[in-house]
Symmetry: C2
Subunit: 199 residues, 2 copies
């Protein structure tokens, strides 16, 4: 039976493991920040420290109607979200082209592949063929476990899905084929350290 908060949100009881691990994690706890927030903070830290130049691309938008009021800024009055043809993040680290997508899931047992779309898989494929470094950052929001999986490994699971296999990657598979990124204070998600160990 499901319980609900007065605002209608479902009550999800914490597992004993989570309760147990809370005090240890507390100092770096995520306080409701999204993966995107944490990666933006991380990229800002890399930028200021001269470690890497990596930015999130703006959300692609189809603009339909713009008003130009006198003596004030143009206002977009009608626009729609477009599907991105690439991944969200890219940039340069030690001369090398870096390209990645970041996604989080509320599931505790597996990562649904529907978080990515064909265009992005194709884009990562092209990046690799051009000598770039492509990967995904996956976050399990309930446990705050964050992993870096290189695109070549993601392709294996993607192909499995395309050949009629499961539509997600299990936590065990992710643990096996990815590198866990410990959550830190600064930078929050030190993925460059992982890249260093892989390049």
């Amino acid at each position: 039976m499901a319980f609900h908060y007065p605002n209608g949100r479902r009550f999800i009881p914490r597992s004993p493991e989570e309760k147990h691990s809370l005090p240890k994690k507390e100092s770096y706890s995520n306080r409701g920040k999204t993966l995107e927030d944490d990666l933006n903070d991380t990229n800002q830290y890399y930028l200021v420290q001269g470690i890497a130049v990596i930015h999130k691309k703006p959300t692609p938008i189809q603009i339909v109607d713009v008003h130009y009021p006198k003596r004030s800024a143009a206002v977009i009055k009608e626009a729609y979200f477009k599907q991105a043809s690439t991944t969200d993040y890219n940039g340069v680290y030690k001369g090398k082209y870096i390209d990645f997508e970041a996604k989080e899931t509320k599931s505790c047992t597996s990562f649904p592949l529907k978080n990515f779309h064909d265009h992005q898989i194709e884009h990562m494929n092209l990046v690799i063929r051009q000598g770039g470094f492509a990967f995904v950052i996956i976050r399990f929001s309930v446990t705050d476990d964050i992993y870096l999986m290189v695109a070549e490994d993601l392709f294996i699971y993607w192909k499995r899905m395309e050949s009629g296999g499961r539509k997600s990657i299990t936590v065990q598979e992710i643990e096996h084929s990815s590198i866990k990124i410990p959550l830190g204070f600064q930078p929050r998600i030190d993925y460059i350290k992982v890249i260093d160990s892989l390049l």
Copy 2:
């Protein structure tokens, strides 16, 4: 004395050189396409041919209000254009990080530096320090002359302006410090060929 078309647009007589070179250029004439259109076509060609993976970043927008109508796509009802913190184009070519900004001017004598802003100059500086390849593509829309200037050279003119010097780069300076990109059919603006000669 200036002559005007019936629609009010000013008549600009062609110089003898232009008249002379017209038949040669005709087949590749720009037919009102913008520099952005031509670069998008070029990048698409590079992508399909497996030559490079370079995309224009979406225009950054600050979304203020979004409506979610039932059974149809979300509509952005209020949004504003934001200033970009980076250049517009980036990607990967032979493993190398490529980053550039493209601007055109209607002037025939010089290129105004106000086409770039501080953030972009700073961004290109950081890219170079990180081992990436940064440059600008400049188009004189009247003559359809297109040049590639590496960021290091642009910085010289930028610093001159910051020290109180002229706010533009003369055509002679551009001819001296840039590489001209001939307008082609496919790809339209073959800047990768220029990069090849520089890397």
